[in-house]
Amino acid sequence: MTKTKKKKIRKKDLALMSMLIPGTIYLLINNYLPMAGLFIAFKNVNFAKGIFKSDWAGFANFKFLFATGDALIITRNTLLYNLAFIVLNLIVGVTLAIMLNEIRNAALKKLYSTSILLPQIISMVVVSYLVYAMLSGDSGYMNNTVLKALGKSSINWYQQKKYWPFILIIVHVWKTLGYLTLLYLASVVGIDSNLYEAAEMDGATKWQQIRYITLPLLRPTMITLTLLMIGRIFYSDFGLFFQVPMDSGPLFPVTQTIDTYVYRGLRSMSNIGMSAAAAFYQSVVGFVVVLASNLIIRRIDKDSALF
C-alpha cells in the first residue's frame, strides 16, 4: 500500500517536473550562464583569441576603472539620482494617493487614475520624442513658445549640462507618478473607514486624520517600497539616462550612470575590459546592497521581507 502510494507521487513529480523544463533551461542560459561569465572582468578581452583564450588581466581592468575617475563619476550619478528618486517617489506617491482617495466623483477619479498611468506604459524611446518636442533647439516648445513668451533667448538644451539633473528628475516623476500613486492608493483604500468616522466624531481636522491615521497605517508600505528601491540603488533606468538625453556627449558628466557607461564601453569595443569591470562592480555591490536592505526589512517588519 505505502509502496504504490510512493510510486504514484513520483509519477506526479515527474509530470510536474516536465512542465518546468523549458523555463528552467531558459533561466540557466539567460541568467546563470552570464553569472559564470563575470570572470570576463578579469580577462584582457581579445575577440581574435576568443573569450576563454584571452589572457588573464588580474585586477588591471578595475585599476583602470578606478584610476581614471570614471568609477567615481558613474557611482556618484547613479547613487545621487536614485536618492532623489527614492525621496520624491515617497513624497509624491503618498501625497497623491491620499488626495486621489479623497475625490468622491467616481468618473473623475477614473479619468485621473487612467491618465496619470499613461506615461508608465509607453517606451522610453517615445518619451525621448516627447522630451525632444519640448526641448529641441529649433522646433521645441520651450524655446519657441515658453521662453519667447517670457522674453528670454533660446537655450541649447541638449548641450547644457546644468539643466539635466532637473530635466531627468522631472521626466522620471512624470513617468512614474501614476504607478506610485496607484501602488499607495491600494494601501490607502484598505484602511478601515471606521477609524476616520471615530476621528470625525472627536472633531479631528482632515490634516489630523491624515497625520494620525493614514500616515501611520501606510508606514509598512512606505518602508517596504523604499527599501526595495534602496536595494536597486546601484542600478539605473538605462532608457532614462541614455535615451532621453539623446546620447549627447556634453551631458555625460551629469547623465552617465553605471548602466550607460557599461553599454557605451561595449559599443565602442575599445575599453570592453573597463566595461566588464564596471558591470562586475555593479553586480557584486548591487547584490550586497540587496542582501543588506533585506536584512533591514526583516528587522523592521518580517512579513514584508523578500526572503
Partner: protein
C-alpha cells in the same frame, strides 16, 4: 461613502480635484503636443516649432509613411510579429514554471523556487550577457535577438502567477480532478487555467507590453536596419534626423520626395503610442492591476 463632510473637508476635496486636474494636464500635454505636431504643416513647424494650436494642418507626414516608406510599415509588422510570438511563448513558459511551484506536494519545489528567486537578486550584467548571446548563441541580427534575451520569462511574473495559483485555486479542485483520472497536464490545462483567466490576461498584457516597448535588445543585437522593430526605427530616427532619406534606408524610399522630417518624427512617435492607446481603455483595469503587482518596470 457619498456622505458629505463638513465644509472644511469639501475645501480639501476641491483642492484635490484642482491638483489632479493640473496633474492630468501636465501628464497629457506632451502627448497632445506630439499628436498635434504630427498633423501640422511642415513649413509652419520649421518657422514656429511644435505648437499646440497651429494654423495650417497637413497629413503629409502620414501620407509619406504609408505611401513612400516601406521601412516604417515593415518595422511595424516586425513589432507585431515579435510581440505576438514573444507573448504567446513567454506566457506559456511562465505559467508552466509557476504551476508546479504553486503545488505544495511537488517534491522539488524548494530547489526550483530558489533557482527562480535567485535571479532576482543577482545577475551577470550586460557585458557577459552580450558576449554569451553573440559568441555562443550567435543571435546577432536574427529575430531571436528580439525574442530571447531577458524578455521571455522573468522571475517576477513567475512569482506573481505562482502566488495567484496558490491563493486562488483550491487544492480540493486539483485533487478531485486527479481522482477523476486526469494527469497533471490535463489538470492544469482544463481545470486550473480556465479559472485563472484574470491573472493570465494581466500577465499576458504585461509581457506583450514589454515586447512592444522594448528597444534595448534591438539596440544591443541588431544593426541590420531591414530587421528593425518599430521602437528601433524610432530610436534610430531620433539619433539621425535624416535616417530615412540617407544611407542604409535610402533604398526603401522613393527618390525625389521631400521628406517632412519635423512632422514625420512626431507622426511616427504617435504611431508608436496608438496601439497602446487603442487597447488601454478596455484593459486599463488589467494594466492597473499589473502595475500594482509590480509587473511593469517601465
Amino acid at each position: 461613502m457619498k456622505k458629505k463632510g463638513p465644509k472644511r473637508h469639501r475645501n480639501f476635496q476641491i483642492l484635490c480635484v484642482a491638483v489632479f486636474t493640473l496633474l492630468t494636464v501636465f501628464i497629457l500635454f506632451p502627448f497632445v503636443l506630439m499628436a498635434v505636431s504630427s498633423v501640422t504643416e511642415e513649413n509652419e513647424l520649421l518657422i514656429h516649432g511644435y505648437k499646440l494650436f497651429p494654423k495650417a494642418f497637413s497629413l503629409n507626414a502620414y501620407r509619406y509613411i504609408f505611401q513612400s516608406s516601406s521601412a516604417i510599415v515593415r518595422s511595424y509588422g516586425m513589432s507585431i510579429l515579435v510581440t505576438a510570438i514573444g507573448t504567446t511563448v513567454g506566457l506559456s513558459m511562465t505559467v508552466l514554471m509557476a504551476y508546479p511551484l504553486s503545488r505544495k506536494d511537488f517534491r522539488w519545489r524548494n530547489i526550483i523556487a530558489f533557482i527562480v528567486f535567485f535571479t532576482m537578486l543577482f545577475n551577470g550584467g550586460l557585458v557577459s550577457q552580450y558576449i554569451m548571446w553573440t559568441q555562443i548563441f550567435s543571435i546577432k541580427n536574427t529575430v531571436f535577438a528580439y525574442l530571447v534575451p531577458n524578455l521571455l520569462m522573468g522571475a517576477f511574473n513567475v512569482m506573481i502567477i505562482r502566488n495567484y495559483f496558490a491563493n486562488n485555486v483550491p487544492f480540493e479542485i486539483i485533487e478531485s480532478a486527479e481522482l477523476d483520472g486526469a494527469g497533471e497536464w490535463r489538470t492544469l490545462l482544463s481545470v486550473v487555467l480556465p479559472i485563472s483567466k484574470p491573472i493570465l490576461v494581466t500577465i499576458g498584457l504585461m509581457i506583450g507590453l514589454a515586447y512592444w516597448n522594448d528597444w534595448t535588445n534591438g539596440l544591443y543585437y541588431i544593426n541590420n536596419s531591414s530587421l528593425y522593430t518599430f521602437q528601433n526605427l524610432l530610436n534610430r530616427m531620433i539619433q539621425e534626423i535624416n535616417f530615412l532619406s540617407s544611407g542604409e534606408a535610402a533604398h526603401y524610399v522613393g527618390t525625389g520626395i521631400a521628406i517632412p522630417n519635423v512632422s514625420l518624427r512626431m507622426a511616427i512617435a504617435t504611431l508608436g503610442v496608438i496601439p497602446i492607446l487603442m487597447v488601454y481603455p478596455f484593459l486599463s483595469k488589467y494594466f492597473a492591476q499589473g502595475i500594482t503587482m509590480g509587473a511593469v518596470k517601465g
